[in-house]
Amino acid sequence: MDFTLNDEQLMFAETARTLFADSCTPDHWRKMMEAGVARDDARWAGIVETGLTLVLLPEAAGGIGLAETDFALIAQEAGYVALPEPLVESAGVAAPLLAALAPDHAILTDPTATIAIAHPANPFVANADSAAAILLEKDGETFLATPDQVTLTAQPSIDPFRRLFSVAWDAADATALGKGDWDLALDRAALFSAAQALGLAQRAVDLAVDYAKERQQFGKPIGSYQAVKHHLASAQTAIEFAKPVVAAAAAEIGAQDVQSRARVSHAKIVALEAADKAARASIQVHGAMGYSWEVDVHLFLKRTVALTQTWGTPAFHRARIAARMFDQPMGPDQTFARETKNG
């Protein structure tokens, strides 16, 4: 039993942090928003160059073959900067699903390609227009199509960097790949949404802390007032108690049993609740500034709204936790215990 991260695990997260800190600032977002684009080719090239898209991909498919724990840390960094590009969905969810079915597929050898995924859990597909291909599911079978082989109808999202589409398609126009583990894809997506949420939450708090130290009212920084402090302390407490749940979910996801699914669901619920609490506290602490387009907090709020309701709603995830509670033994010796029956 050792619930700590080792240096190797922290290395890619550090790489991502440095890369994003330089290349994904509010200035960058704003230029992209003005231009109406959701992908910055220079940044994506940087992401590809540093190997972040290869972390979770198995070695058989040309990847680095690390585990969800490693990728979750990268997802957290992506959340911290509200990364516009679909690194998490593409490299964390879609590419591993494709690689499990077709490790030699040409798309996997093109590191600049992003892959979108039309999961039955979601009504809309994110970033389908800029993807090199879209993974689709029908009657348990997996298909792959390029955006021009399907009909995309834009469904604008409040988050300017999530371009959503309804997808109409015909199996005859797509490539059949076989069964595919769509349940694992959902678990990964939920887990990495949770990890992103930790980043979103911490950024919202950090922005508010910076502002509260500077902004003066009644002759003092507003951060010296207790009501302001307590908003942020409560948000930080929520973050602190979501972190280990996300870490445990990442470590256990491979078990693919009632316990691991409940843990992933738990992580998704509490991390996004923490992000919601943090974003709303941050807006409140910023006052009217916080409600303005000018201040960046709204982007973190919008990403939080999106991720909360996608990849399984809170009700869906709560039901999976209830299933673990009422089907499996509970109690203090069960924290890391595994079920015997798999359901």
């Binding site: 039993m1 802390v209 003092k220 409560s234 930080q236 602190e240 010796d333």
Partner: protein
């Protein structure tokens, strides 16, 4: 990261489980805050624990422990709560003062105090609060004056848990003429020493769970001072770190409660508001998150880290979790909620008493308002 138990850890769990199965009293003991008999029955249980060498498993063997690490401590606590073993009457000693003594005490002090603490022979109370110094602990007025090899203590302490029946207290005292955090010392005194008067105070459940203590020219040897004179604040903050961060509330307590709540829902859910299921699930999530957080902290401490201001987030989390959990139980019980345990129709678990107890959580061990101030100022760096 490895979230599985080693074979040694599993063997340890089996050993604890077997010993508890053979030794935990069949009938629950009377509460240690209710009567002297209840208190003494718990002391007897502490002696039984010690006979199996389970007094305080993390302490070094030479001081009455087993020299185990914090993960093993968590396993021990899990089995302890799972077995429904009696509450630890000496928790102020073993969980708060003990770790502090190990960090700051001399070898002689450890030898003198720890083994008797681990065996329940000497049961401890914490004498920090005063009528004028609650949240503002740096305002304590009780004094210590060195006189030869002794200290002479004077002052008025209050809210001291279990001091009515306990044997010793660890108090915070001021060298006369000093101000605020400077000039405070942590000094031990026997509660039956000449000049000590202990008056019971009833808690809202009617138990004489805490007391006020008057000290009038109480003499104790200077040996009873932990750390240097004037170092008391620093040492007390370390104790508070254990209290908030880890030891005072091990996760198993809430995991047992969450499991009981799930049972309650299974038994009564059909007559209760269906929306309450979300709260039952939430209670499990909270208890699980708390356990994971503590495992993570324990792993970090084993790897050499120190407890920091993030300990304050624990205090907030467990106290608010406890209220949510017990309130959910009351909501499921509906009209049965208000019944005391001796009512003919009372539920098998005394949820109302647990709820009343939970209400103290946000007050003691530093109020949650104070914890939020600490998080904001020391974790987030906001100005004072």
């Amino acid at each position: 990261m490895d979230l599985t138990y080693t074979p040694q850890q599993q063997a340890f769990r089996a050993e604890v489980r077997a010993w508890l199965a053979a030794n935990v009293p069949a009938a629950p003991l009377e509460h240690f805050d209710a009567t002297r008999e209840g208190f003494e029955a718990h002391r007897q249980w502490e002696k039984t624990l010690k006979s199996g060498d389970w007094g305080m498993v993390t302490w070094p063997t030479e001081y009455g422990g087993r020299g185990l690490d914090l993960i093993q401590w968590l396993i021990f606590e899990e089995e302890y709560y799972r077995a429904g073993a009696p509450g630890r009457v000496n928790q102020n000693g073993i969980f708060l003062l003990g770790p502090t003594l190990i960090e700051f005490g001399t070898h002689e002090q450890k030898q003198r105090f720890l083994p008797k603490m681990a065996s329940g022979e000497e049961i401890w109370a914490q004498a920090w609060s005063e009528p004028q110094a609650g949240s503002d602990l740096a305002g304590v007025r009780a004094t210590c004056v060195q006189d030869g090899d002794d200290y002479v203590l004077n002052g008025h302490k209050i809210w001291s848990s279990r001091a009515v029946f306990a044997d010793w207290a660890f108090g915070l005292f001021r060298t006369p003429g000093t101000e605020r955090h400077k000039g405070l010392s942590l000094i031990f005194f026997p509660l039956d020493a000449p000049g000590v008067t202990v008056n019971a105070i009833k808690k809202i459940n009617g138990h004489i769970g805490f007391a006020e203590i008057f000290l009038e020219d109480v003499r104790v040897p200077a040996f009873n001072r932990l750390g240097d004179e004037g170092q008391g604040w620093h040492i007390c903050m370390a104790t508070a770190g254990f209290e908030r961060g880890l030891m005072l509330r091990s996760p198993a307590r809430y995991q047992v409660a969450a499991a009981k709540l799930a049972d309650l829902w299974t038994a009564h859910g059909n007559s209760a508001d269906p929306a309450l299921e979300a709260d039952v699930v939430r209670a499990h999530m909270n208890a699980d998150a708390y356990a994971l957080n503590i495992y993570q902290t324990a792993s970090r401490l084993i790897a050499g880290a120190k407890i920091g201001p993030e300990a304050s987030t624990n205090k907030i989390f467990w106290s608010e979790m406890d209220i949510h959990l017990t309130q959910t139980a009351l909501a499921i019980l509906g009209p049965l909620a208000e019944l005391t345990h001796d009512a003919p129709d009372a539920a098998p678990v005394d949820w109302i008493d647990d709820y009343i107890f939970a209400l103290a959580g946000p007050i003691y061990a530093g109020s949650n308002e104070i914890q939020r101030n600490i998080i904001a100022e020391r974790m987030l760096g906001l100005p004072r």
